[in-house]
């Protein structure tokens, strides 16, 4: 189990326990339950990188314990 921090740099910051093998989609659902925003509106990315794709896992993106991810609004395009 790892704990990942999600931060939108606007005042919302959440720490979410998960497994490194979780797909990004599941992680987004967990973030949505914490942040109060629908999962399809959530876009996650590491700072300065491209957004995470839903069908890959956190492991694939090299997310490990204590990593902080950026939370942005996904407009669908």
């Amino acid at each position: 189990m790892i704990i990942v921090t999600v931060n939108d740099r606007l005042g919302t910051k959440a720490q979410i326990p998960c497994l490194a093998s979780d797909p990004v989609k599941v992680f987004k659902a967990m973030v949505a339950s914490r942040v109060g925003r629908p999962a399809h509106e959530i876009m996650l990315k590491r700072q300065g990188e491209r957004p995470f794709k839903d069908h890959l896992t956190l492991e694939d993106y090299g997310v490990s314990n204590g990593v902080q991810l950026d939370l942005e609004l996904d407009t669908g395009d």
Binding site: M1, I2, I3, A14, Q15, I16, P17, C18, L19, A20, S21, D22, V26, A29, M30, S33, R34, E59, N65
Partner: protein, 675 residues
């Protein structure tokens, strides 16, 4: 952890994901498949070789880490507690032992009361001791202190007045040899410096042997006081302290009853006194009554009077007049008022007053003594003003009166009619005698005669001059006095002296009047002579020595080579000696006089500026241009011309150089000055 693991697990389960493992609980065991036990994982496979094994080991690793951290925290807490305990124990350990209150507790109150007296005594005794000690110390200090009482009888090498009021001077013991018998003397370094400076300045001043201003107030001074210092040595100003804030001298003076010499009081309005005493009353004091206007007499009458004054009547009067003229040409007519004044009532008073004033003025003039140098200078000036008078052989019987053209002109104005008549008579006589005398008279025993004949147009002055000339010719020695009141310029034909004087007059030669140059020249000659003498003496000595050597037996024993050697050695010795002596002479007496004189191609002496220019041109191999050269040549020509022309001649254009000429040129006024 914000989101508790249980909540997260709920969500996960709802989404069909496997739940997160809960650390404490056995949650993972109850549902779904679980990881294998550790034992099984490390049995055959290498740990963490695959992703699965690694992720399986993750939880255990995390737990281990957590445990470790917990253990560490616990350890630290325990260590801190122990430390705290120990410190506490230490703090309490210090506190035990006997306190102040414990100490005093062994006596009872009665005993303490009894002891108080003893204690009091003890305290008093110590106090007394302390006081005594202090007193003794104070006395010792007082004995050590140096007060003015200790200074009694010490001499101070300055005048009391030198110490100005309100300024501090530091006096130190004067430097003297240790074995000197003199008593100690104090001196202020600053004052001593000042005195020295003053002395130096005084010595630089030219001191007069007799200085009336330097007399002391009482008017007494020793005879030839200027040598006092040489004979008795320098007088030192000093006073002695008596230890009571006064000087011994002062006390003695007071005791002897003599007060200080009274200072002369000087009034400060010297300027007022300096003005010469006026012989006349101040105009403000005089009250003048306006005289009534009288009707003036006829002008004609007055004219007659004037004529009388100017042309005195012929006869004895004129003779008297002539005599007077000779004796004192500037005698002013005595005012007739004197006679009339005598009848005045207050005349005596006035006369007495005037006499007193005159006496005073005379005394004052006498007081202004003339220094000998001044007198000498005055004499010299007088001599140079009339140099030719001195030259004449008839110096002794030369009258004090000098008649030149100016006075002659004045006397001509007053010439009486009698003289004219006399002149005419003379002329007549000559005319009558001329035919009889014939050529002989023309021959010129009396050279004035022909001039006298034709002189109707000439002025009396010329006639007089001519006669004078003839007379002086007869005497063969003339008194060279010229018109215009100025001396005639010297001419070159009369010898070197007059030439020199001419050049001097024109400013061609500048001479320094002092005898410095002469003295300098003499000095130099003497130096040269000394040197020569010294050289000659050395030479003679050498010769003698050589002779002596030759005659002595030593010479004959030597081989020629040795002789040569010996001679050379002696020579070098002599040379050394001689050169040393010469150097000594040089050091003592040689004063070189170096003058750089530059002469240009025309033979003129160039001044510094010109010389620099000249050298510069030579150095650069290039002279000034055409125009400048022309200018320079013009300047030289003008200079030559100026030198050639007489300084007295004002008729030429060169006369424009004088001040008046320049003025008139500036104002564009045409005109010639008549003399």
């Amino acid at each position: 952890m914000d989101l508790s693991v249980e909540e997260a697990n709920k969500i996960r389960v709802a989404m069909g994901m496997k739940p997160l493992p809960v650390p404490g609980g056995s949650a993972p065991t109850d549902t779904g498949p679980t990881f294998k036990e550790k034992k099984s994982s490390d049995s055959d496979e290498e740990p963490a070789s695959t992703l699965e094994t690694r992720s399986a080991a993750a939880y255990d690793n995390w737990r281990e880490l957590q445990d470790e951290a917990d253990a560490k925290a616990k350890r630290e807490a325990k260590a801190a507690a122990i430390k705290k305990e120990r410190e506490k124990a230490q703090r309490f350990a210090k506190l035990d032992g006997k306190g102040l209150a414990d100490d005093a507790a062994d006596e009872d109150d009665m005993a303490w009361l009894k002891g108080t007296k003893k204690r009091q005594k003890k305290i008093e005794k110590s106090e007394r001791m302390r006081k005594e000690l202090e007193e003794r110390e104070w006395q010792a200090q007082a004995a050590l202190q140096y007060t003015e009482a200790d200074l009694a009888g010490v001499k101070v090498g300055h005048e009391v007045d030198d110490f100005g009021e309100g300024e501090d001077q530091i006096l130190v013991l004067k430097d003297t040899a240790v074995d000197q018998e003199e008593e100690d003397e104090l001196e202020a370094v600053a004052l001593r410096e000042k005195e020295k400076l003053q002395e130096k300045l005084d010595s630089k001043k030219r001191k007069r042997a007799y200085d009336p201003n330097d007399m002391d107030e009482a008017g007494q001074g020793s005879i030839l006081a200027q040598y006092d210092e040489d004979i008795d040595g320098k007088k030192r100003k000093a006073f002695t302290l008596d230890g009571q804030g006064r000087t011994v001298e002062e006390v003695l003076l007071e005791a002897s009853g003599k007060s200080k010499p009274k200072k002369v009081t000087l009034s400060l309005d010297i300027l007022k006194d300096d003005t010469p005493v006026n012989d006349y009353m101040d105009i403000s004091e005089i009250k003048v009554r306006k005289p009534k206007k009288k009707k003036s007499k006829s002008t004609r009458r007055k004219r007659a009077d004037d004529d009388d004054d100017i042309f005195p009547m012929p006869g004895e009067d004129t003779a008297e007049h002539e005599a007077m003229d000779v004796d004192e040409p500037k005698a002013t007519p005595k005012p007739k008022k004197d006679l009339t004044n005598e009848s005045f009532v207050d005349d005596d008073d006035l006369q007495a007053n005037l006499a007193a004033q005159r006496r005073e003025a005379l005394k004052k003039r006498k007081n202004m003594k003339m220094r000998p140098e001044d007198l000498a200078r005055q004499l010299r000036e007088e001599a140079s003003a009339t140099p030719d008078v001195m030259d004449t052989t008839e110096d002794a019987d030369e009258p004090g009166l000098v008649i030149d053209e100016t006075t002659e002109f004045v006397s001509n104005l007053q010439r009486s009619a009698s003289e004219e008549r006399e002149e005419e008579r003379r002329r007549l006589r000559r005319k009558s005698s001329q035919p009889s005398n014939g050529i002989a008279s023309m021959g010129g025993i009396n050279s004035a005669d022909p001039e006298g004949d034709v002189d109707t147009g000439q002025s009396y002055a010329e006639v007089e001059d001519a006669r004078d000339r003839s007379e002086s010719h007869a005497r063969s020695v003339s008194v060279d006095v010229t018109g215009t009141g100025l001396d005639q310029e010297e001419t070159v034909d009369r010898g070197l002296g007059s030439t020199l004087r001419l050049l001097k007059q024109r400013g061609v030669i500048e001479t320094s009047e002092n005898g410095d140059q002469n003295a300098f020249f003499r000095e130099r000659q003497r130096f040269l002579a000394d040197k020569q003498k010294a050289e000659a003496a050395a030479e003679r000595l050498a010769k003698e020595q050589r002779e002596r050597d030759r005659t002595s037996g030593k010479w004959s024993h030597m081989t020629p080579r040795e002789r040569e050697e010996h001679a050379r050695r002696l020579n070098s010795q002599r040379d050394q000696l001689e050169s040393r002596k010469l150097a000594e002479i040089f050091n003592k007496e040689y004063k070189p006089n170096v003058q750089l004189d530059y002469v240009d191609e025309f033979g003129r002496h160039m001044n510094q500026k010109e010389a620099f220019k000249h050298l510069s041109h030579q150095f650069h191999g290039k002279g000034s241009g055409n125009q400048k050269t022309q200018k320079h040549l013009d300047k030289i020509a003008a200079e030559k011309k100026r030198l050639a022309q007489s300084s007295l001649d004002t008729s030429q254009a060169g006369a424009m150089s004088n001040a008046q000429g320049q003025q008139s040129k500036k104002h564009k006024q045409a005109g010639v000055r008549l003399q």
